[in-house]
Amino acid sequence: MKLSIERADLLRSLNHVQSVVERRNTIPILANVLMKADDGMLSLATTDMDLEINESVAANVSSSGTTTAPAHTLHDIVRKLPDGADVELELNAEGTQMTVRSGRSQFKLSCLPTADFPEIGAGDLPTQLAIPAADLRALIDRTKFAMSTEETRYYLNGIYLHEAENEGVAVLRAVATDGHRLARFEMPLPEGASGMPGVIIPRKAIGELRKLVDEAADAIQITLSESKIRFAFDHIVLTSKLIDGTFPDYQRVIPEGNDKIVEIDPKVFSSAIDRVSTISDGKSRAVKIALNGKQMTLSASSAESGSATEEVEVNGDTDIEIGFNAKYLLDITSQIEGEGCRLTLADAASPTIIQDNSDPSALYVLMPLRV
């Protein structure tokens, strides 16, 4: 295998694929990037056995071939090369070493046999749909902050993507929860999604996908089965195993009878939370919200630091005192782009619904703190 490629092109692709490689690997081949050079294209692939990324980039291939080389090392080398440089990659005849040349720099990297590289394969992916990149971005952004990071709650460690119905309209819905808050986003059901299985896309796949979608201009092609999902766009294909678990019946935790409604400017609200929570201590970062007619009083106190209060004007007429984790409130308000957000409350021990006044596609449920 021998090829040359512009540094910027190689770096962009390596940036994408190296990120799937775990920093610590007990299986050496998983630290490597699979490289295949043929017909004017270099394809790069990495995997952690659950997630696989494959990207192709144009290159001047003078001799086709395949090998695997340490992904992070190769990425670091290319990253440190000067901008605008050309990079030459050449595999020795034994297939054990790859030389990286650029200008006066030369590196020799140990290679592992291509045959050892595991490919998770996709099998049959019967459901096919396409989502515009901007919509997929919104779907991820509105929900991903609520995914659980607690490993024993493996079934909450991702976004639940499924077909649903809202007031008679078929929708594609994404839901994430960590048991403290829940985020739900929906969009009209794309063509081809009807009859799809409900799937839980793992956190890592969501993170990688989110980074890649930023560079995508067109629609993302999605194909899936009950066990795997594949996202394809431009020259990138991301394939992930799905979480083998049952997502809880989330509908039952979205309250329907909450009758205390207040509206507030989300920017004013989040700034006030941010300021007041400077004082709150502990993991819970507790902030108390006291509603009294058109006035909201936010307060926090800490045994060490002291106390804080701030008053904010709201639209509504309700009296209630309730405590929340400030970080959770900020996570939600940061997703609200409109000029008004609506809080629908019941009491100090029940879930509160938060929504963007101008965007019904997202809904957030937040559980209070017992203070």
Partner: protein, 232 residues
């Protein structure tokens, strides 16, 4: 202003689904007689089988196993006062009335149940009722119904032994998609009340506390759960 530093996060009520299949039903010495009555169907000596046992002992689960076996329909016991015996009998060839005991002693409900018994007997059909109380201990309003129910076969579920209780704990955690080590079960068993309902409460509290604290279910967490339950 209240002190907020010890604030505790209230978790969402994301309870798991209870697995009610035959393969999920755990059999031990305390319930094997009850299971044998289900296996013996349709060879029952009366049109009705009564499953009795303490709260959370698996009566509903065993009834669900029979429902799956026979294609029966589960009817709510409230229907004994809102519907006629003919209407209930028309629901399905075989029916299950789950949790009948609150209605025993009510003449109106018992009258429907009595007619139901007669319809099923006449037509050679079978139905199953579950009750915490055995018919011999229940206070019936209609003597004829009492005698029929007391003569009916009784599938009793007794308090569990340690081995079954351990398996029940594992099943209850697994219903909530929680994987626990043997250490956790070994820690709970000698410290818990010997009942199915205690197992259910312990697992529910463990799930809630783990979710609230974003921790796994471990022995230290169980220590907090058991302490809190004892206080309660």
């Amino acid at each position: 202003m209240p002190k907020l530093s010890k604030a505790q996060q209230i978790p969402l009520d994301l309870a798991g689904r209870t697995a009610l299949g035959l393969e999920d039903y755990l059999i031990g010495p305390c319930n094997k007689d009850a299971v044998s009555w289900i296996d013996r169907w349709p060879d029952w000596p009366a049109p009705v089988l009564v499953i009795t046992g303490p709260a959370a002992s698996g009566k509903t689960h065993l009834a669900a196993v029979w429902r799956d076996k026979t294609g029966a329909e589960i009817v709510k016991p409230e229907m004994l006062i809102s519907r006629s015996a003919e209407q209930i009998a028309g629901v399905n060839q075989n029916i299950v009335i789950d949790g009948v005991d609150p209605w025993l002693g009510y003449r109106e409900a018992e009258t429907t149940l009595f007619h139901l018994y007669n319809i099923f007997k006449e037509e050679g059909r079978t139905f199953l009722v579950t009750s915490r109380m055995a018919p011999s201990h229940a206070d019936f309003a209609i003597a004829d119904l009492a005698s029929r129910f007391r003569a009916a076969p009784l599938a009793s579920i007794h308090p569990p032994d340690d081995m079954l209780l351990g398996s029940v704990l594992i099943k209850l955690f697994s219903d909530r998609q929680l994987k626990v080590n043997n250490d956790v079960v070994k820690y709970i068993l000698p410290r818990m009340e010997r009942s199915f309902s205690a197992a259910r409460d312990i697992v529910e509290q463990a799930d809630k506390l783990a979710l609230s604290k974003k921790r796994g279910v471990s022995v230290p967490l169980m220590r907090e759960v058991m302490a809190a339950l004892q206080e309660f």
